[in-house]
C-alpha cells in the first residue's frame, strides 16, 4: 500500500504532468527502433522443423521419367484450351482428372462487388486415399490464371500430372483434393467457403454453389504457380508465398518443410516476397520484413493459398521465379515430397509458430520478440489519454499575481475552510476541496455518434459502383476535413469537455489497436504509426497554432493515406478508381477488414483528435 500512496503523491507532481508527451514520443520511437533491431542476429532465430512426424525430405521421390511425357502431353492439352470457353475447358480438365481415377465435380460461383460481377466455375477432383477413411484431406491446386493474370499452363499441367501419379500410389493416408480454379483469388475463396458450409451461400453480394462432393478435414494446401506454355522455361528459385487473408499466417512448419525439401533435397533456392538476390545482409532482411509488413497489413489475398487461412488450414503457394536450370520435374518432386510430408502428419499442424516475421527463408522472429513494437505504439495513445483525462479534470490554474509584500503571511497560507461535523471542527485547505466535475455525457455521446457515423464512409466506399468511388472519396475528404472544426464549434461544450472527448477517443483507439495487434500485427503497427500525431495534438488557444496542428493531422489522415497509397499504386496501372475498387472487392468478396480498421477505428479517432485541436479555439469558456 505504501507504493500506491506514493503513486498518489506523484500524481500531483507538476513534473509528471509535463511528462506524457515525451513518454508517448519515447514509446513510438522505441517501437520503431524495436522493429529496426529485429533483423539483427540477436533478436531472430534460425527456423527449425518442430513437428516430429513431418520428416521433411526423408523419402525418395520417384516423380520423373515417363511422367515427364505425361506432363508435356497435359501441358499441350492445357495450351489447346487457351481460347476455349470456361465450360469447355473445365470439361477437358475434368475428363483428365476422371481418367486418372478421381471423383470430379464443378462449382460455379459469383461475387458482386464495386458494381461488377466476378464469376467463374471451379473444377476439382478427389483422390480417395487407399489407406484413408475420408476424415482428412490435403490439397494441391493451381489457378488457371495466376495472381498476376498470366495463364498458368505448366502449373495446371503439373497438378494434373501429380494427380495421375499420386493415384497409382498406395501410401496415402489422407485424401488428396485437386482444385483448378479459373483465377487465383475468388475461386479458391468460393471453394473453401463452400467446403465449410452445409448449404449454398446466397446473399446480395455473393452466390456460391454448394460442393457436390466433399472429403474430410483439410490439413494443408499447396498451390503451384508456373505460368509457362508448351515452350517451357527453366527457373532459378521457388518463391514461397504465405500471407493469408487478414494477415493470418500458416504454421511455420509447413513453410520450413517446403524450404528444407526444396533447398535440402532438390537444391533449389527459396525466396520470399519475390526478393531474389537476398544476401542475408541487414538491408535485405529489413526489406523482407518491410515486404511482409506491407502485404500483411493490407490483408488482401496474395495468391490461391490466401483463402485457406481463415479456416485454419495451412497453405502456401510455390511460385517459380528467375532464369536458372531447374525444370518442371524438380518442382513436381518438391511438391511430391511436400505432400508426402503432410501425409505423415498424425494431427493438424500445431507444433510450430503461427505468429512470426520472416527475415529470409530460414530465419524468423517470433511473436514475443516483435509484438512489443506494436504494443508500445498502441500504448503511447493510452499515455496521452491518461494525461488528457487528468488535465480535463483539473481546474484552470488561477492567474499568478505577484504577492503583495504587506500580507506575506496571509498569502503564504492557502485559503482555509472551516469544516464542522458535530462537535468537531477542522480547518482544511481550500484547494483540496475543489474538484472539477467532468461532464461525461456529452463527450461520450459525441464519441458514440462519431463512431456510428464512421459506418457511412465505409458503406459508401464498399457498396458504390466502381466509377462513383473516386468522387465519393473526394467528397468524403472534404467533409471529413470540415467535420472537426464544425463539431467543436457547434457542440455546447467547453474546452475541457472536448479534452475529455479526445481522451476517451484516444483510449478507445489504443485498446482497439492493441487488440488488433494480436490478430494482425502489421496492420496495428502501421495504423498506430500513421495515427501517431493524434497522441501529441492538444487544444490550441491561438488560431495559427490550431491551423498548424490541424494541417499535420490532415497530412496523416485516413483520406490522405488512401490517396498516397493509390498514388504509389498508380505505377501498376490501376489508377485511383482501380485501387478503390480493389479495396471494395477486398471488403465485400474476400472479407478483408483493412477498410473497416481505416474507416471505423482510425477515422473516428482522427475526428476526435481534430475536435480536440479546435476545442481551444471554438470551445465555450466556462
Amino acid at each position: 500500500m505504501g507504493l500506491s500512496a506514493r503513486l498518489l503523491t506523484l500524481r500531483r507532481s507538476p513534473v509528471l504532468l509535463k511528462l506524457p508527451p515525451y513518454l508517448s514520443a519515447a514509446c513510438i520511437v522505441v517501437g520503431v527502433v524495436w522493429l529496426l533491431l529485429l533483423p539483427l542476429n540477436e533478436y531472430s532465430r534460425q527456423t527449425y522443423v518442430s513437428e516430429n512426424a513431418i520428416l521433411p525430405g526423408q523419402v525418395h521421390t520417384y516423380f520423373g521419367g515417363s511422367e515427364h511425357n505425361v506432363f508435356r502431353a497435359f501441358r499441350q492439352e492445357a495450351y489447346d484450351q487457351k481460347d476455349a470457353s470456361e465450360g469447355h475447358r473445365n470439361a477437358v480438365l475434368g475428363r483428365i482428372m476422371r481418367e486418372s481415377g478421381l471423383k470430379v465435380a464443378e462449382q460455379p460461383y459469383s461475387y458482386y462487388a464495386a458494381g461488377e460481377e466476378i464469376a467463374g466455375t471451379n473444377v476439382y477432383g478427389i483422390l480417395q486415399g487407399p489407406r484413408a477413411d475420408a476424415t482428412e484431406a490435403m490439397i494441391i491446386m493451381a489457378g488457371w490464371k495466376n495472381f498476376e493474370g498470366l495463364v498458368n499452363y505448366s502449373g495446371v499441367a503439373l497438378v494434373l500430372t501429380l494427380a495421375r501419379y499420386f493415384s497409382r500410389w498406395s501410401i496415402w493416408s489422407k485424401d488428396i483434393i485437386v482444385i483448378i480454379s479459373p483465377e487465383s483469388t475468388y475461386g479458391p475463396i468460393a471453394w473453401v467457403d463452400a467446403y465449410h458450409s452445409t448449404s449454398p451461400i446466397v446473399t446480395a453480394t455473393q452466390n456460391i454453389s454448394a460442393l457436390p462432393i466433399k472429403s474430410g478435414a483439410l490439413q494443408a494446401a499447396v498451390a503451384i504457380d508456373y505460368p509457362v506454355g508448351p515452350w517451357g522455361h527453366r527457373f532459378d528459385k521457388i518463391d514461397i508465398q504465405y500471407d493469408g487473408l487478414n494477415g493470418a499466417l500458416p504454421n511455420l512448419d509447413l513453410l520450413n518443410t517446403a524450404v528444407s525439401v526444396a533447398s535440402g533435397q532438390m537444391n533449389i533456392g527459396c525466396s520470399l516476397h519475390g526478393i531474389s538476390g537476398h544476401k542475408d545482409s541487414y538491408n535485405d532482411r529489413l526489406r523482407t520484413i518491410a515486404a511482409g509488413l506491407a502485404t500483411q497489413s493490407l490483408g488482401h489475398a496474395t495468391g490461391p493459398h490466401s483463402a485457406f487461412m481463415p479456416y485454419h488450414i495451412d497453405a502456401i503457394t510455390l511460385k517459380t521465379v528467375g532464369d536458372g536450370w531447374h525444370d518442371e520435374m524438380s518442382l513436381g518432386r518438391v511438391t511430391e515430397s511436400l505432400i508426402r510430408s503432410v501425409n505423415n502428419l498424425l494431427e493438424h499442424l500445431h507444433q510450430s509458430f503461427f505468429f512470426y516475421i520472416l527475415l529470409n527463408a530460414n530465419r524468423f522472429v517470433s511473436i514475443g520478440n516483435y509484438l512489443p513494437a506494436a504494443m508500445l505504439i498502441a500504448g503511447s495513445f493510452t499515455i496521452s489519454a491518461l494525461a488528457l483525462w487528468v488535465q480535463s479534470g483539473r481546474a484552470p490554474l488561477p492567474e499568478k499575481t505577484p504577492a503583495q509584500p504587506t500580507d506575506e503571511k496571509a498569502s503564504a497560507l492557502p485559503p482555509m475552510e472551516l469544516v464542522k461535523a458535530g462537535p468537531d471542527a477542522a480547518l482544511v485547505p481550500k484547494p483540496a476541496l475543489q474538484s472539477v466535475d467532468r461532464h461525461l455525457f456529452l463527450p461520450a455521446l459525441t464519441l458514440l455518434s462519431i463512431h456510428l457515423a464512421s459506418f457511412i464512409p465505409l458503406y459508401l466506399l464498399t457498396h458504390l459502383p466502381r466509377s462513383f468511388l473516386p468522387p465519393t472519396l473526394h467528397a468524403l475528404t472534404a467533409l471529413s476535413l470540415l467535420l472537426p472544426p464544425t463539431l467543436s464549434h457547434l457542440l455546447p461544450a467547453n474546452t475541457r469537455d472536448l479534452q475529455t472527448l479526445q481522451s476517451l477517443s484516444l483510449l478507445l483507439l489504443s485498446a482497439t489497436l492493441s487488440t488488433l495487434a494480436t490478430l494482425n500485427f502489421s496492420l496495428a503497427f502501421l495504423a498506430g504509426l500513421l495515427a501517431s500525431p493524434l497522441a501529441f495534438v492538444r487544444p490550441c488557444r491561438s488560431l495559427p497554432a490550431a491551423v498548424l496542428s490541424y494541417a499535420v493531422l490532415a497530412a496523416l489522415s485516413p483520406m490522405s493515406v488512401t490517396y498516397g497509397f493509390a498514388a504509389w499504386y498508380w505505377g501498376r496501372g490501376m489508377g485511383l478508381e482501380g485501387v478503390l475498387a480493389e479495396f471494395a472487392r477486398g471488403w465485400e468478396a474476400q472479407g478483408v477488414w483493412t477498410m473497416g480498421v481505416v474507416w471505423c477505428v482510425w477515422w473516428p479517432a482522427w475526428v476526435g483528435g481534430g475536435v480536440g485541436v479546435w476545442g481551444g479555439v471554438f470551445g465555450k469558456r466556462t
Partner: protein
C-alpha cells in the same frame, strides 16, 4: 435540442425506458443474427445460464422427459413452464418475443435501481448520514447506466437466465429499502432458488431491511408527544433476533414452496442435485470470464474437493465481514457483496458485472473520493482493454487455432484484476466516508493504509 432536453427533464423515466426498449428491439430486428450470435459467446452464456441450453432442457421437458437427464441443462425448473409458453425462439417472431421478455426484465431491474436511488438509503441509514449524500447522481442516471451499459445491453440480447436472478435481487433490495421484510425475503428466495450464490446476499440485504424498519418509526407525528414516540419506538422497532425470525421464516417458506412446485413439475428430484451441486462441484469447465474453470482443468482429481472448498470459502468469507464492517451503510455492503459475486462466482458472466457496475452508481455520492484518492480511470481503461482483448483471444484460441487457453485465461485475469480494483476502490470510498465523519480534519488528505 433544447426542446428535447426540456422534454427529457420533465419526463425522464418514461423517455429513458422507452428509448431503452426501442434500442433493444431495434437491435434485435435490424440484426436478426445478433441474438443467436451473442447467445453462443462464452463471455455471456455460461453452462448455468445459457439460453441455448435452456432450449435443450425445454425440448426434453415438453416431451415429458426429465430435462436434467441430458447432462446439459443446469437451470431452475420453474423457468421451463414459463418458456414453454413462449413461441419457439428459432423463428423470427419467437426471437423477438424472447428479446422482449428480457427487455421487460431489464426495465424492471432499472426501475428497481431508480427506486432504490430515489429512496435515499445510499447516504442515510438509521445510524449514519453521509456528509456527501447530496452529491449523488439523479436516480434516472443510475437507471440509464444500467440500461445503456454495453454489458447489460449485450446480455439482454443474448438472453441468459441469470437476468432473472439479477432482476429479483434488485427487486429484493428495493423492497428492503421500504422495510417490507416479507417481500424482501420472497424476492431474495426466488433469486437464491434460481442460482445459488444470492444466498450470500442474505446478511447484507437483511441488514438493510432491518435498518429501514428501525428508521421508519423515527419520523413521529408532532402531536404524539414524548411518551407516544417512545411507545412507537418500543413497539415497532424489532429486536435483531425477532427480525431475523421475521425475515428468515418467509425466506425459507418461499424456498420450500418453490422447490415443492419444481418437484411437482418434474418426474424426479434429480433437479436438486443438478441445480445446486453444479455451482458447488463445477462439473462443466466450459471457459467463461471467471477465475475458476482454468484452475480446475489443471487440477489433479485428488485436490479437486479441497480447492472447491477453498474457492467457495473465499467467496463465503466476504458476506459477513462486509455486513459487519459496513453496517452503517447497508446498501454499500450489498453492492460490495454483489461485486464479490460478480468477480468470484464459479460461472462468471459479463451480465452480472454490468448489473454490479450499475449498482455501484447507487453510491455515486462517494465517487469524488475514488477519483481523488484511487484509480477508477485506469481500472476502467483496463476493463475496456480486457473486454476488447477477451473476444480476440477467445477467437485466436478456439477458431484461428493460433493461440491457446492461456491467452484467454490471461485476459480474464486482467478483467478480474480491473474489477477488483474497482471493488477495492468502492470499499475504500465507503470506509473513508465514515472515517471523515469521525475525523473531519483528514478531509482531502492523502491517507496511507497500513
Amino acid at each position: 435540442m433544447n426542446a428535447l432536453a426540456q422534454l427529457y427533464n420533465e419526463h425522464p423515466k418514461p423517455i429513458l425506458f422507452t428509448s431503452a426498449v426501442a434500442l433493444r428491439l431495434l437491435l434485435a430486428i435490424a440484426f436478426p443474427a445478433l441474438p443467436d450470435l451473442l447467445t453462443l459467446r462464452a463471455e455471456i452464456s455460461t453452462p448455468v445460464n445459457s439460453f441455448k441450453r435452456l432450449q435443450e432442457g425445454l425440448f426434453l421437458y415438453e416431451r415429458g422427459l426429465d430435462p436434467y437427464d441430458g447432462g446439459i441443462f443446469y437451470q431452475a425448473p420453474l423457468l421451463l413452464p414459463l418458456f414453454s409458453l413462449l413461441p419457439s425462439p428459432a423463428t423470427f417472431f419467437g426471437r423477438i418475443v424472447s428479446v422482449a421478455l428480457y427487455t421487460v426484465l431489464d426495465v424492471l431491474s432499472a426501475d428497481c435501481l431508480y427506486e432504490i436511488a430515489a429512496s435515499g438509503v445510499a447516504g442515510v441509514s438509521s445510524v449514519y448520514a453521509s456528509p456527501r449524500r447530496k452529491d449523488g447522481w439523479k436516480p434516472v442516471s443510475v437507471a440509464a447506466v444500467y440500461l445503456f451499459n454495453p454489458f447489460t445491453l449485450l446480455t439482454c440480447l443474448a438472453r441468459p437466465t441469470t437476468v432473472f436472478t439479477t432482476c429479483f435481487i434488485l427487486l429484493s433490495i428495493r423492497q428492503a429499502t421500504q422495510a417490507k421484510a416479507n417481500a424482501t425475503a420472497f424476492a431474495l428466495a426466488i433469486a437464491s432458488y434460481s442460482s445459488l450464490h444470492p444466498l450470500l446476499l442474505l446478511p447484507p440485504i437483511g441488514l438493510l431491511c432491518y435498518d429501514q424498519s428501525c428508521k421508519a418509526p423515527q419520523q413521529p407525528s408532532k402531536d404524539g408527544g414524548r411518551s407516544g414516540k417512545q411507545a412507537t419506538t418500543s413497539t415497532t422497532k424489532p429486536t435483531p433476533l425477532s427480525f431475523t425470525t421475521i425475515f428468515l421464516t418467509p425466506f425459507l417458506l418461499t424456498l420450500l414452496l418453490l422447490l415443492t412446485l419444481s418437484r411437482l413439475l418434474l418426474p424426479s428430484s434429480t433437479f436438486l442435485s443438478t441445480l445446486y451441486l453444479t455451482p458447488l462441484s463445477l462439473p462443466d469447465l466450459t471457459p467463461n470470464p471467471g477465475l475458476w474453470w482454468y484452475f480446475f482443468t489443471e487440477m489433479f482429481d485428488a485436490f479437486r474437493a479441497f480447492f472447491l472448498g477453498v474457492f467457495w470459502l473465499h467467496m463465503l468469507a466476504y458476506s459477513a465481514p462486509f455486513t459487519i464492517r459496513l453496517r452503517k451503510q447497508p446498501l454499500a455492503a450489498i453492492v460490495a457483496m454483489q461485486g464479490v459475486l460478480a468477480i468470484f462466482q464459479p460461472y462468471a458472466n459479463v451480465g452480472d458485472v454490468g448489473a454490479w457496475l450499475a449498482a455501484t452508481c447507487l453510491m455515486s455520492h462517494l465517487f469524488p473520493i475514488t477519483s481523488t484518492h484511487r484509480y477508477p480511470f485506469p481500472a476502467l481503461a483496463a476493463l475496456l482493454y480486457a473486454s476488447l482483448l477477451g473476444p480476440a483471444f477467445h477467437h485466436l484460441w478456439l477458431y484461428a487455432g493460433s493461440g491457446n487457453a492461456n491467452f484467454f485465461y490471461a485476459i480474464s485475469l486482467v478483467w478480474a484484476l480491473a474489477l477488483l480494483i474497482l471493488e477495492t476502490d468502492f470499499v475504500y470510498a465507503c470506509l473513508r466516508d465514515e472515517w471523515e465523519v469521525e475525523r473531519p480534519g483528514v478531509k482531502g488528505r492523502v491517507a496511507r493504509q497500513v
